[in-house]
Amino acid sequence: MSAWFLSLAQTLVVTLKNVVPIIVVILGFQLLILRRPIPNWRRVLIGFVYVLLGLALFLEGLDKSLFPLGEIMARQLTDPAFIAGEGSEFGQALQWSDYFWVYLFAGAIGFATTLAEPALIAVALQARAVSGGAISVNGLRVAVALGVAIGVALGTFRIITGTPLYYYIIAGYVVVMLQTLYAQRMIIPLAFDSGGVTTSTVTVPLVTALGMGLASTVPGRSVLIDGFGLIAFASLFPMMTVMGYAQLSSLRARMARQREEK
């Protein structure tokens, strides 16, 4: 039991270290430049303690549960012996279509980890408050999670086929630009932001483990060149799904209006 507390305390120290630069910057400006007390500073302080404690517990819990399990699973699923199946001959070259379970796992884990991502919850809460409730917290999160799922699944396909990363990224950029032309102005900044927030605490380690596992077992791939890039996919596709979600709902609203007019 004491070992548990010890490692929790260590995580707390690491989290604290990450927050130190933020606190130094804010306090420095508050005292030297703004020279004005933060309103309700006691409440803010308690909030900071909550954030630290919560994050430390969260990370420590992930280290104890999901991360080891997810990494083992990523290794097992990308193991050529598993992919080839029990009945098939050994030494047979694998086709990209043999990796069915890998794509499914990549998509499912991308979707599930995004829903648990604390930074995305924060942005979704803000979006709901700013939009006066027009954007629902869960609607935005599901849209982003779908994007991550598509992105990570496609990213594993890229590692398996060994096609260059930038083909996909450039094609993705073109789609995002086209969508930007037609999307409502209100949703554009939020959609762009949701690309960056999706990939943090929960998603990055699991998705990276999957990428590294694949790149090291697929013949002809280098871990260092092909293992990277999944995060880039995971931050590109949410922009498309969030704009797509907004476009879809405005289209539905327009169709409903037309039906009423008839």
Binding site: V14, N18, P21, I22, V24, V25, I26, F29, Q30, L34, I38, P39, N40, R43, V44, I46, G47, Y50, V51, G54, L55, L57, F58, E60, G61, K64, S65, L66, L69, Q76, F111, A112, A116, A119, I121, A122, V123, L125, V130, L165, I169, I170, Y173, R185, I188, L190, F192, D193, G196, V197, T199, S200, V204, L224, I225, D226, F228, G229, A232, S235
Partner: protein, 244 residues
């Protein structure tokens, strides 16, 4: 006190709901596809409970601490009316939080290894450490500059898509000139820079700024800081790869 516990119970329930998908995905794959029992079930259950409690406490802390803080800072700077101090603040916040970011440290070390295999860096610990440190410095610099640019954009009311789309052009052009081993790392570095504590603070800052400046709409002008902070590092990392 009773209200506090009722409140906490609510947030526990919602963070449990947030984690159900992961639990379902992992157990389904483990039991049905890989057909193996889950190892160390006890410790995994305890860990999951910690994750749920931690997430609930974190979200509570966001609402009472980080959101009001970002908002208060934004209003204080707006009232002070000094654009240059606001820029310095934005830069310090972006640079300071990014250079110390653990995900970035991990990626920078991997990148140094890739550069060593590509023959760009000598196979010595000191040379690789140097490379990793300068890479982190570059990414920190780029995040600091993107917050400056983003704040300037909020003040002036430029549409974010112009900045982002021109950023895409720069990134695409750079991709053709950057060495091959840096490309994947560069694209990934955009995603990892924005951490779980920075994102809520920066978002609250943007929304606070846009709501305290007349003529700005928080929905249109408030968001977009994170987008810039995930785009600029890609370009800067590729330039770094070309220069080294």
């Amino acid at each position: 006190m009773r209200k506090f516990f009722a409140d906490f119970y609510c947030s526990l329930r919602s963070s449990l709901r947030d984690l159900v998908p992961i639990i379902v995905v992992i157990s389904l794959f483990q039991l049905l596809v890989l057909r193996q029992p889950i190892p160390h079930l006890g410790s995994i259950m305890v860990g999951t409970l910690m994750v749920i409690a931690g997430l609930a406490i974190f979200v509570k802390g966001l609402e009472i601490g980080l959101f009001p803080l970002g908002d208060a800072l934004a209003h204080a700077f707006a009232r002070k009316g000094s654009v240059s101090w606001l820029m310095v603040f934005a830069f310090a916040l972006g640079f300071g939080t990014t250079v110390a970011e653990p995900a970035l440290i991990a990626i920078a070390d991997k990148a140094a290894e890739a550069a060593m295999q590509g023959g760009v860096v000598a196979n010595r610990a000191a040379a690789m450490e140097d490379y990793a440190w300068w890479l982190r410095f570059t990414v920190g610099l780029s995040v600091g500059l993107s917050l400056v640019l983003g704040v300037l954009r909020i003040i002036r009311g430029w549409p974010v898509q112009y900045l982002i789309v021109s950023g895409y052009f720069v990134v695409v052009v750079l991709t053709f000139f950057a060495p091959r081993e840096i490309i994947g790392i560069a694209y990934d570095s955009g995603g990892v820079t924005t951490s779980t504590i920075t994102v809520p603070l920066v978002t609250a800052l943007g929304i606070g700024l846009s709501s305290s400046i007349r003529g700005r709409n928080p929905m249109i002008d408030g968001f977009g800081l994170i987008a810039l902070a995930s785009l600029l590092p890609i370009a800067f990392t590729m330039v770094f790869g070309m220069l080294v």
